[in-house]
């Protein structure tokens, strides 16, 4: 006892020197290749997932003119205001800091080639985050290092959107050569960023900014970027790493089942995920290991996600003509609940819900997958009638038909799929040259359009001329239909600068007056008293606005206060 207290009177600074025991600290990290890989793994949590498109998030079609909720969406109808805080803005910078943390530590690492792939992933993800800022806010501060509280960038102006776009493109171009081809990625690493991912994303970025500039009177900048977009898309096509999902056994329903593809039997042909070479970059799910986690099937099926008349009317007839084209003799009009679905692009009846047919959901699942009596016995409905509370157009995209508990669906979310690359190519070429050859269309556009419509005439310059069509309108139509509900529409309208005409239009539903709906007792439609326009079409939402300011989101008030030099976006 006396001895111990003697020690105590001695200095005890040493006894107060304690080091962290359960956490990694700076001094003992960034020493080996795996440290970089583990850190890069955290970036994958930033990838878009279903929540980005199936609830009201910045890129969701819920904020466009194609889908709506029962309650109007403030961002869709133009009534959104300046938020006090905004995670879309503020959250991006903590991600950028993490990407920069890896890049900064990589500079001090001796064997650069060992970690080249993870450095490339950090640059890809930095570009990925910056593209989100570019799309939503335009100008954004460019931060290249791990900054301290005294760094002047914290009180600087934002960089011009062109500098941001160039920064993104530079990151992607630097990343591409260091990334592996899809076929070179080991099974244990499937899902990591591939060369094709970065190339495809580059085509998306350059097409976005290229058309943004072109339709804002900056032709030369537009051409330069569209050229990048076209060649990046072409690189993906030439790499032969990806192909459209088109198994013969699924026929015209291939696209429907692509979106709900699981390893358990999820389609009549029992095709599993390894049959899908179309998804270039995806957020993978699995019923057991990583279920989607939201009640996606019930959250979108039928009368929950309400599709507007604009999308329904956009589908071509099987003769390749729009419903209002004078040469279109196939279109059957709106007299019955099902007539407008006749002879249309097959994607229409596999995306929307064709009334008076049988449907299955996850808890009213398919059994035999043949549509026979056993199968019908478990159907959620054998004679679907749209609910009167919606637009009359129901949705079935992203809705499973197999027996799986709510929220345990395990299909993948396509962040980038090959069809988009093909459509990026067609659009980039057309907008760059103000023309596109039939050969280029066949190489890209027609593959997508004819995938589930083998009998539809190809789009060609002659077809456009003969039928009085507009090539640009057809390219945009195809993109809207193919990529519906995948988070493209509102960004497309913004870059095309057509949101000001498209977005303020009333959101419409089915044609009511003079059709079966007005007289049928099915679902109580004959007594449904809904507002209608002069054509007898249901008006679901009116009073929508879109002003110039809506092309960009407002900078959140708190950040503007902390750094007034950021500057508010125009009009806000």
């Amino acid at each position: 006892m006396l001895v111990s207290s003697g020690v105590m009177f001695g200095g005890c600074n040493k006894m107060l020197d304690l080091d962290p025991l359960d956490q990694i600290a700076d001094g003992n990290y960034w020493k080996k290749e795996n440290d970089f890989k583990l850190f890069a793994n955290s970036f994958y949590g930033w990838r878009r997932d279903f929540s980005a498109v199936i609830s009201s998030n910045p890129h969701s079609d819920y904020r466009s003119d194609l889908v709506t909720f029962p309650t109007p969406d403030a961002y869709s109808n133009g009534s959104n205001t300046i938020p006090a805080t905004d995670g879309n803005f503020s959250g991006a910078f903590s991600r950028i800091r993490l990407a920069n943390t890896l890049l900064e530590n990589a500079q001090k690492f001796a064997n650069k080639s060992e970690i080249a792939q993870y450095v490339a992933e950090a640059r890809f993800f930095r570009a990925y985050v910056y593209f989100d800022l570019l799309q939503l806010f335009g100008d954004a501060p460019i931060i290249e290092g791990v900054v301290d509280v005294t760094d002047p960038v914290l009180v600087s102006k934002r960089n011009d959107r062109s500098e941001v776009a160039d920064f993104i493109i530079a990151d992607l171009k630097a990343a591409i050569p260091a990334l592996p081809l899809e076929s070179a990625i080991a099974a244990a690493d499937k899902g990591r960023v591939s060369q094709g991912t970065a190339q495809a994303f580059l085509s998306r970025v350059a097409l976005f900014e290229g058309t943004w500039q072109k339709f804002r009177d900056n032709a030369s900048r537009g051409t330069e970027l569209l050229n990048i977009a076209a060649s990046a898309a072409r690189d993906v096509m030439n790499s032969r790493q990806y192909e459209l999902f088109k198994p013969a056994a699924l026929g015209d329903s291939a696209l429907k089942y692509l979106f709900i593809l699981e390893d358990a039997k999820s389609n009549p042909a029992s095709i599993a995920k390894n049959g899908n070479k179309e998804y270039i970059f995806s957020n993978k799910h699995d019923q057991i290991l990583n279920p989607i986690g939201t009640n996606i099937t019930h959250g979108l099926f039928s009368n929950v996600a309400l599709i507007t008349r604009k999308l329904a009317n956009m589908y071509l007839s099987q003769n390749g003509l729009p419903v209002d084209n004078v040469n279109n003799t196939q279109f059957q009009g709106y007299n019955t609940m099902t007539s407008e679905f006749d002879n249309r692009d097959n994607r229409m009846r596999y995306t929307l819900i064709l009334p008076k047919k049988a449907y299955w959901t996850n808890d009213n699942p398919r059994v035999t997958w043949t549509g026979d009596a056993t199968d019908l016995a478990t159907a959620v409905t054998t004679f679907y009638i749209p609910g009167t509370s919606g637009t009359g157009y129901g949705n079935q995209k992203w809705c499973s038909e197999r027996d799986v508990r709510d929220a345990n669906e395990g299909y993948d979310f396509p962040i980038i799929r090959y069809a988009e690359v093909l459509l990026n190519y067609a659009e980039a070429v057309y907008e760059r040259d103000n023309a596109i050859s039939d050969a280029d269309l066949d190489l890209s556009f027609n593959l997508v359009r004819n995938r589930v419509n083998p009998d539809m005439p190809k789009l060609s310059n002659a077809f456009v001329t003969t039928n009085g069509l507009n090539m640009r309108a057809e390219i945009r139509r195809e993109r809207t239909i193919e990529l519906f509900f995948e988070g493209f529409r509102i960004d497309d309208l913004k870059r095309w600068k057509t949101a000001e005409t498209e977005m303020p239009q009333n959101l419409l539903g089915i044609k009511y007056t003079g059709t079966e709906y007005a007289t049928s007792t099915l679902g109580g439609w004959n007594t449904a008293n809904k507002p209608k326009n002069a054509d007898g079409v249901i008006i679901f939402e009116s009073g929508r606005v879109w002003s110039a300011k809506n092309y960009l989101y407002p900078i959140p008030a708190d950040q503007l206060k902390l750094n007034p030099n950021l500057g508010q976006n125009p009009g806000w």
Partner: protein
């Protein structure tokens, strides 16, 4: 709300929102009104009354249940204490034993808390100059709660119309909505066992008769073992013949075993010198040092997909393990000198030099000191001779103490967090990953120095029947820990730094009166405390982006509640247009052109023509400014009686519980029914609640923090009341066993008066939105027996 109130409210709210008769919720609510107490089977979807909607539910139920009665009941608890003591010349001892059993008021699942404790104090006189005092205590706590109790508590009230079980007595689910009671009943037990042992040895050695060397060694170890089981639960339709959900799924069932050991070592050694010079001068001086070291080591393993009948770690699914280990240490040198003259003038100076492992090396040690003086005026003839006072004393003190609370354990090191197999799903499984802890490193933090000033007067008059103390205090902190806000472009959270300046002051008055008239004795007393504080300087940017409680806001007290100034409700279309024309553009308070008659309006408090969060005004503080209590007691022969009242004033509450406070925020959830006859309609323009709505942005706008939505937290409560009877000694002696026996009945929290409007207990915290905070308030009655042998 009752089923009727809810259904009528839904129809009104949805109609207000512009929905017509085809709206599924209006149709559902009308079905509820028409089928009250009944049920509709919708297994066959062609039978469903609302085609195309609610396709995932198997029935519609419209029972009018009171969920408070379903979930909660009364519960018993028992407490037994026993102590034995004795002493002789060489040694003394005291042994205490205790047992406590508490049963939870939740009627579902296992819910008990028991505690056994033992404590033994011993003092040995080894020799005339050396003694050893030893304290050994041991406690065992055994607590069982339902693992999924948060699911039961978390959802304030289930959807109106829900049953407590299916017709066959099984868990009921309606699509993704569950009857909450079954999570507790079937979800498994969370069993916590804590064993703690505390040993403290004090050695006293008299070096001379004036100098003593005292050394204390302490060791405290506590082991907490938690066995947590989460079972799969099958949920059924109301008929009970169809399983509609499994939640948690079997794959998500788990068994988790965790062990946490905390070892705390302390050692202190000091010399104490005591002397009296010339009879009048008393001097005590102490000098010593101390060291404390804490080691926390925890480990937990969880395996999914279990066999629910086993009570040990098992499972065939995914295994995840977590570990936590950390340490901190503190060292001090201290010294104190006390001097008094004739016990009339008293002085003390003290100083200590403290070091903490939490700070970076160069900022670790700091010197703190204090001084105080006392003057016993009663010893002065000019006071004594007045004959008024029985006691009178004036005290004054000043001191600086160090504070390191709220500091992370390891300053000055960039830390990374690593996660095992829980990240993105790549390849064939979830990835492990490493990321930073999201915080910047701080190198320049040091101890907070808190300056305390104190002035007090103690007195006693009227033959000591009335006594009291009046005290005035000031507390200053000129290097308070606060986190300055930086633009989010920084990308990480900046650490707290010693940047703030804080001042608190207040006074406390205590008065006690006691007297005796024959066998009847009584006492009355009260304490009144007034304390206010202010953050004088934040020392950095601090942008407020919404109203509510703000922990630290310059020029205001800590935990200030700020909000918009309520400016009445929109009553006319002209008013609405004018309000929107004036304020819609550039507003950041969520005002949209969707607002209607009957919604709130707010004032442009700073007059800049915009409605933004610059218009927030100070509405009060979440910490009561005034707290008081008074007590009374009386005894007559064997009877004794006492009451304690407690109250607070000057508290402003902005409750965080949005679902409960806002009617129809979630159309399918029940809420408080205070709005039923008190919401805006054209006929009741003066009602307190705004026009009903299910529209998210409108509700968020109306119910945000404002002078309208905050509540006055003042209350007065009967905290405790006791009536006891002690058997006359001659009676208890006759038992030959007991030397005294007392029976008593006491009640806690039996009555109160409060201005709270949302139905919560006045002592409840501002945050009541999750978990255990939602445990309902309960009143307690105790019957007890004190016996001595």
């Amino acid at each position: 709300m009752s089923l009727d109130e809810w259904a009528n409210g839904v129809v009104e709210a949805r109609t207000n929102d512009g929905f017509d008769e085809t709206d599924v919720w209006i149709r559902y609510a009308k079905l509820a009104l028409a089928n009250k107490g009944g049920y509709i089977d919708t297994r066959d979807l062609s039978n469903t009354p609302i085609q195309g909607a609610f396709t995932d539910v198997k029935d519609f139920l419209f029972l009018d249940n009171n969920w408070t009665d379903i979930l909660w009941g009364s519960a018993g608890s028992t407490q037994n204490d026993l102590s034995i003591s004795g002493r002789n010349e060489k040694m003394s001892y005291r042994l205490s034993l205790g047992y406590l059993l508490d049963q939870g008021t939740l009627r579902w699942g296992n819910n008990t808390n028991s505690r056994y404790n033992m404590r033994l104090n011993n003092e040995f006189k080894v020799s005339d100059r050396f003694s050893i005092e030893s304290v050994i205590s041991f406690a065992l706590q055994d607590q069982v709660t339902p693992t999924m109790i948060a699911n039961t508590l978390g959802q304030g009230y289930p959807q109106p119309g829900f049953p407590s079980a299916t017709l066959t007595g099984k868990p009921y689910a309606w699509g993704g909505q569950y009857t909450p009671n079954w999570f507790s009943e079937l979800g498994g037990d969370n069993n916590l066992k804590v064993r703690s042992t505390n040993i403290s040895e004090t050695f006293r050695l008299d070096l001379t008769n004036k100098l003593q060397w005292i050394t204390t060694l302490g060791f405290n170890t506590s082991t907490a073992i938690r066995d947590m089981q989460q079972n799969a639960i099958q949920w059924f339709n109301y008929a009970g013949d169809l399983q509609v959900q499994e939640n948690p799924t079997q794959a998500n069932s788990y068994y988790q075993k965790s062990t946490a050991v905390t070892d705390f070592y302390s050692a202190a050694s000091y010399l104490q010198y005591k002397n009296t010079f010339h009879r009048n001068h008393n001097l005590t001086a102490t000098f010593g040092s101390q060291y404390e070291f804490n080691n926390y080591d925890a480990y937990s393993a969880r395996i999914t997909d279990i066999n629910g009948s086993l009570s040990a770690l098992n499972g065939s699914g995914v295994t995840t393990t977590t570990k936590t280990r950390n340490q901190y240490a503190m060292g001090s040198y201290f010294s104190r000198i006390n001097y008094d003259f004739q016990s009339k003038y008293m002085f003390e100076v003290n100083g200590r030099y403290d070091g903490s492992s939490k700070f970076a090396r160069q900022n670790r040690w700091n010197f703190f000191y204090g001084a105080s003086a006392g003057w016993r005026l009663i010893e002065e003839d000019f006071i004594k001779n007045t004959g008024i006072f029985n006691d009178l004393k004036l005290r004054v003190s000043y001191g600086i103490v160090g504070n390191q609370a709220g500091i992370d354990l390891y300053d000055g090191v960039q830390l990374y967090n690593s996660f095992t197999a829980s990240g993105a799903f790549l390849g064939t499984g979830k990835m492990s990953y490493v990321t930073t802890n999201g915080r910047l490193v701080s190198f320049d933090r040091t101890w907070e120095k808190i300056h305390n000033y104190n002035l007090a007067l103690d007195f006693s008059v009227l033959n000591r029947r009335l006594s009291g103390t009046a005290e005035y205090f000031i507390k200053k902190n000129n290097n308070m820990f606060l986190s300055a806000q930086y633009p989010s472009i920084l990308g990480a959270t900046a650490p707290e730094a010693n940047i703030g300046k804080f001042k608190g002051n207040g006074y406390e008055v205590t008065l006690n009166w006691s007297d005796r008239v024959g066998d009847f004795s009584y006492n009355l007393g009260g304490v009144f405390t007034f304390a206010e504080n202010k953050l004088i300087d934040y020392g950095g940017a601090n942008v407020i982006s919404s109203g509510g409680r703000i922990a630290a806001l310059q020029d205001f007290p800590l935990n200030a509640v700020v909000g918009l100034m309520y400016d009445g409700k929109v009553q006319t279309e002209e008013q609405r247009t004018a309000y929107l024309n004036k304020y819609l553009v550039g507003n950041t308070i969520g005002l949209t052109n969707a607002i209607r008659l009957g919604d709130n309006m707010y004032r442009d408090a700073n007059g800049d023509g915009l409605l933004t969060y610059d218009d927030l005004v100070y509405l009060g503080t979440d910490d009561p400014i005034v707290s008081y209590s008074f007590n009374a007691g009386a005894s007559y022969k064997g009877f004794d009686f006492s009451v304690i009242f407690q109250g607070a004033d000057g508290r402003t509450i902005f409750r965080d519980d949005v679902n409960w406070r806002q009617p129809f925020r979630s159309v399918y959830l029940n809420t408080t029914n205070q709005s039923v006859n008190n919401r805006w309609t054209p006929e009741t323009p003066d009602a307190w609640f705004p026009k009903y709505s299910t529209n998210g942005p409108i509700n968020a706008y109306n119910y945000q923090a404002s002078s309208w939505s905050v509540e006055n937290g003042a209350y007065l409560r009967l905290k405790n009341i006791v009536l006891g009877y002690k058997l006359p000694n001659n009676l208890s002696d006759k038992t030959k066993v007991f030397s005294s026996l007392r029976l008593y009945v006491s009640g806690q929290d039996l009555w109160e008066t409060t201005k709270i409007k949302d139905g919560w207990d006045p002592e409840a915290t501002r945050t009541v939105s999750s978990g255990i905070q939602r445990y309902p308030f309960s009143r307690t009655v105790t019957i007890g027996l004190n016996a001595s042998f």
